[in-house]
Amino acid sequence: MSTTSSAAGVAQQQPASAGRGKGGRTKVARSERARDEARLGWLLAGPAFVVMLAVTVYPILQAIYDSLFSYRLTAPDDKAFNAGHNYVVVLSDPLFWQALGVTTFITVVTVVIELVLGFALALVMHRAVKSLRGVLRTAILVPYGIITVVSAFAWFYAFDINSGFVNHWFAWLPGIDENLNWFAHQGTSLFVIIASEVWKTTPFISLLLLAGLAQVPTELEEAAQVDGATWWQRLRRVLIPNMKAAIMVAVLFRALDAFRIFDNVFIMTNGANNTDVLSLLAYRTSIGRLEIGLGSAISVLLFLCVIGICFAAIKLFKVDLAGARGES
């Protein structure tokens, strides 16, 4: 790369020192160089940008378009514009509201559990002595590396009435005996689904919180300790307020991720016993039953829900995504 971009790189490290040209360069030269840099910047970053748009914007536009037609692949010639009738059908279907309810329930419960558990794990990793730190961090990364489908099978087989050992191990607990079929009821199915989701994704939230913890100045905590604050007081008054941004980002990301839940539900119940989630409903409608019009409508509604969650998080909780991510 040329010296031009080296100088630009230096200038970029101090965004406050306005503008490009240092010393006595003329305005013309400066703007010319800025133009060169903009051109090179887009030349390098453009392909990635175009690919990202192509793989998301195009499909969502197509989905919006398809959602306006009565369109079944089993009868492709009957494709006809039906002016939003698909949305009326979907929104007046109790199945949709059931799936939305279950999805929301799973999202809220997993995020709450993961926040508490993830924070506890982050504190453990943060405080652990050096010799243990590596072991703990490695162990916590294992669930992250395991594919969701494998984790779903592991949990499914553990609880399954035929091959499972959970019923035998926990038969002493009230409500559990050898004949308990976890996947025959909504509540118990959701329990296992949520447990597997929590197990698989807590490492991510816990690593984000660990990074947040590392950014809290140690002097603050030490000062509180000197002032005689208890562990709990230090946690509530010093640590948590100082890592609010990291917590918010972690919660938002996990919420958006949990809202798209699909793999474990597909493997464990495939939506039986009122455990259907939105992604599964969309999948079954469009790819299972080939109702492209209706399936697209559900896809668009799911997309709108995700945007809604983002918007609510940014407005209500004032999550500054870019800011919290350090982008200035």
């Binding site: 080296s6 790189g9 230096v10 970029q12 840099e37 090179l40 910047g41 887009w42 390098l44 970053a45 392909p47 690919v51 990202m52 748009l53 793989v55 998301t56 499909p59 969502i60 197509q62 398809d66 243990l132 490695t138 162990a139 916590i140 990364l141 294992v142 590396g145 395991i146 594919i147 489908v149 494998v150 099978f153 592991a154 087989y157 553990a158 499972g164 035998h168 050898e178 490492p203 690593l207 984000l208 990074a211 990291a246 980002v249 958006l256 798209r260 793999d263 992604s279 999948y283 790819i287 492209i292 896809s299 799911l302 997309f303 995700v306 983002c310 995504l321 870019a322 991510r325 350090g326």
Partner: protein, 277 residues
């Protein structure tokens, strides 16, 4: 450290290890059970057998499992490679140059990463069928970019921001040509970040399930997670539990080894990309 503290940390470490490893152990144990022992409700197999592994690697289920393994490796590697090349160029520009639209690119990456996969897959299913990409490698590689590219851009941009780019100038002052300066001073600093990003992107591609089950129909392109879900037993009376568990272990072990080897890099990559940006 006091003994009480030592014991306390010992207990905590064991708890964390059990939490993190238990489901892995449980599927590992299942994969070594004889069919007759599967329904006994025990955790460990009474007699350890490799018959489930024989079945998926050389036996009756090898035509289901081996092509899926090949597809998963090939498709994930290619999707990772493309994402990392494109993201390296973009992240270099973001970290190094000042141009209008930098923020737009990062925001777009953020937007793409929260996009519900199912909203992409319905239109692609229809389009791929009509243009012949359904059930092909390319038909999965393209949508996989929606998973691998955004995180690659964020992670690499975070890595590249920390590189002291002045080094390059210093090398030039010492008489290196611009290419030499870039290669000798910057590439060695950037390589670990690129490698870590590739690893994370590969995990994400390897984990995909929705695209895998929606955009493929045969062993021509079906990746492992989808193949596991559609696995059926040797006969309709035999549950494929043992074979699925064995296949799950085979696809998990390499990933766990990678995690163990590169845990330090993965942690820094994940957290920097996500928190520090």
């Amino acid at each position: 450290m006091s003994t009480r503290l030592k014991v306390g940390w010992g207990v905590i470490t064991v708890l964390v290890l059990v939490y993190a490893l238990f489901p892995v152990l449980s599927i590992f144990a299942t994969s070594f059970k004889l069919p007759s022992e599967l329904n006994l409700g025990t955790f460990w197999p009474g007699t350890w057998t490799t018959s489930n592994y024989d079945q998926i690697l050389t036996g009756s289920a090898k035509d289901l499992f081996l092509p899926a393994l090949r597809n998963s490796i090939g498709i994930s590697l290619i999707a990772t490679f493309i994402a990392v090349v494109l993201a390296t160029l973009a992240a270099y520009a973001i970290a190094r140059l000042d141009f209008p639209g930098k923020r737009l690119i990062l925001t777009t990456a953020l937007g793409v990463s929260i996009f519900p996969v199912i909203s992409i897959v319905t239109p692609l299913f229809n389009l791929w069928r009509s243009i012949g990409l359904y059930d092909t490698w390319l038909g999965l590689i393209i949508p996989y970019l929606s998973l691998t590219l955004p995180i690659s851009i964020w992670t690499l941009a975070a890595f590249f921001r920390q590189i002291p780019w002045e080094l390059e100038q210093a090398a030039q002052v010492d008489g290196a040509t611009s290419w030499q300066a870039f290669r000798k001073a910057i590439v060695p600093l950037a390589a670990p970040g690129v490698f870590t990003t590739a690893l994370i992107a590969f995990f994400i591609a390897w984990n995909d399930f929705v695209y895998g089950i929606s955009l493929t129909s045969t062993s021509a392109a079906r990746p492992v997670p989808a193949a596991l879900a559609f696995f059926t037993g040797a006969s309709q009376f035999e549950e494929p539990t043992g074979a699925i568990a064995a296949a799950a272990v085979v696809v998990t072990i390499p990933v766990v080894i990678l995690v163990l080897l590169f845990q330090r890099q993965i942690v820094s990559g994940l957290t920097q990309g996500a928190v520090k940006g």
